[in-house]
């Protein structure tokens, strides 16, 4: 056997070990989901059989219909989409405007205001949550879209992240634009924003995801069924149908699948965004 062969065998063994690890981990990650899917398609009587029967017999599709009927999932979906979209749009717009001013324009008090933004980033959400709740309550805004959307729109983090990104754009471009006759507003709109697409879409994506999964705040401010977002709705569903596992699993699948599909389609973008903002943000 030559050295070449030994190296080759070593490589195969190496790969075999790596793949076994990957697959073992993969099963740990996926099997619970499969189990969920399987349970959601079982007849309630078969749920408690201790055997690990993965493929249900018979397959009970009507669990999904029943779950969908049980609570207004459609309404919850709509609420979640509307709230997440509104917060995302508002945040990207206001944060990018503020970030442009903080990174590129000179005005008295700029740095102290920005320092104020930075200082609040470390404050736990709980500190802010209670007074904001009281504020919204006194305005009579609880249990409304305003309560779900407004507090999420104004983000110090988004402003900070975009400011850091804008700082990396070459200043020459703005000088060139000034000489070309751009107003400051036009520089923001036609130079800065188009050049910041990666950062803007990363921020938009995280804001959207964060709001989509947000639990605490909607739990606190919503009370009527028509205002619940998807996570709250699902949790509410679990409170009502405590032990009807087939329905609960079907409901969870209804909630999970669209989100997972969106993720898988955008996963490259999302994972890159995490690496980008996690290290630089």
């Amino acid at each position: 056997m030559t050295l070449y062969h030994i190296m080759k065998i070593k490589k195969y063994v190496n790969h075999a070990i790596l793949y076994s690890l990957l697959i073992l981990f993969g099963i740990t990650m996926v099997f619970p989901f499969l189990w969920m899917l399987s349970t959601s398609l079982k007849d309630p009587s078969q749920v408690f059989t201790a055997s690990l029967q993965l493929i249900p017999d018979p397959i009970v599709w009507k669990n999904y219909a029943e779950a969908w009927e049980a609570i207004p999932f459609g309404r919850f979906y709509m609420n979640s989409v509307a709230v997440a979209l509104a917060v995302t749009l508002g945040q990207v717009l206001t944060s990018s405007m503020a970030a442009y001013a903080f990174s590129r324009l000179k005005f008295p008090g700029r740095d102290s205001i920005f320092l104020g933004y930075l200082a609040t980033m470390m404050i736990p959400g709980m500190v802010v949550t209670i007074p904001v709740f009281i504020l919204l309550k006194s305005l009579g805004w609880l249990d409304s879209y305003k309560a779900l959307i407004l507090p999420g729109v104004f983000s110090a983090y988004g402003t900070f992240m975009l400011r850091q990104f804008f700082m990396t754009l070459p200043a020459d471009l703005e000088d060139a634009a000034k000489i070309d006759g751009c107003s400051l507003w036009r520089i923001y709109w036609q130079i800065i924003l188009p050049l910041s697409k990666p950062a803007l879409s990363t921020l938009a994506m995280f804001t959207f995801l964060g709001n989509w999964q947000s639990f605490f705040w909607p739990l606190v401010v919503t009370s009527s069924e028509s205002m619940k977002t998807l996570p709250i709705g699902l949790s509410y569903f679990q409170d009502i149908y405590t032990t009807e596992w087939t329905l609960l699993m079907a409901g969870s699948i209804i909630v999970l699948v669209p989100a997972l599909l969106v993720f898988i389609l955008n996963q490259k973008f999302i994972t890159q965004g995490i690496a980008l903002t996690g290290l630089k943000g």
Partner: protein, 368 residues
Amino acid sequence: MARVILQNVWKRFGDAEIVKDFSLEVPDKEFCVLVGPSGCGKSTTLRMVAGLEEVTAGDIIIGDRRVNDLPPKDRDIAMVFQNYALYPHMTVYENMAFGLKLKKFSDPEISMRVKEAAEILGIAHLLDRKPKQLSGGQRQRVAVGRAIVRKPKVFLFDEPLSNLDAKLRVQMRAELKKMHERLQSTIIYVTHDQTEAMTMGDRICIMKDGSIQQVDNPLSVYEKPDNRFVGGFIGSPPMNFMEAEVIVRGEECFLNEGMFEIAVRRRYKDNVMPYVNKKLILGIRPEDIHDKLSFTLNLKEGNVMSGMVDVVEPLGSEIFLHVNTGKNEIICRVDAHSKVQPNNIIELVVDTRKIHLFEAETGCSILQ
């Protein structure tokens, strides 16, 4: 009518004085180069002309208008940046058309101007590309094109060639010069590269620490530097400087370096006499120091120095020698076919017509 006048212009950032009492008149159609080491305030000066920086004090006049308070777009200028500053999200055409669009030119007019400029610069085939798809030289041309289409009164160039490789830089140098002749426009050009300044400028303005050191045409600046800084900055390899004491012996005046003496020509005698027995800074350009063996002009005893060769740098067309005189390390240029080797002892002759003398303290030339 597009002269540019700067009158007693100052620029301060807090306590730092970046530009100090800068006065310069650039007449119509002149190619004027601002040159100096980095941090000398040349770019700031240019940016004040452009309107990108505020003027702390003084006046800037373009044409017949005082433009201190005008935004850049109303100054009728165009600027080419060091990093080209092309908008990455626009095509070449859009880059060049952007300024015209903002000025509300008609589409046919824009298209005509862009195509015309693209023809001149030989980038007509690149109009649909994005800057990312262009080479450095092509980007440079687009940046120039963006300036040309505006048909401005004054072009401002901020180190436009420093990001190009050496070969391309030589080529673009010539092209910019050609363009200037063709467009007959006023140009203010900032660079830190003295070769660029010498080859391109009708006049050169040398700056240091925010102040003008000398303004003149390239040859005068080279041959008659006003001070030690200018002498050292212009020319490559740089002028050799050494301390020398002025000695009078009979009718004649000498400069004593310590290891050798140089006779002062009669026409400089009056300039030198006030410094008898004092130190002066003697400046000699490398090409004015010759190998004694190949120097045939009327030779005077006493203008010869000898030294040990440290380094030999053959360039093909000439050879630079680094010679240690025992007190100073000097550089001289000798014939390409010289057989000098390192560690040789060499005898060198100074062309005394070409020497420069500066006051030791102020660095001012005493020959002008």
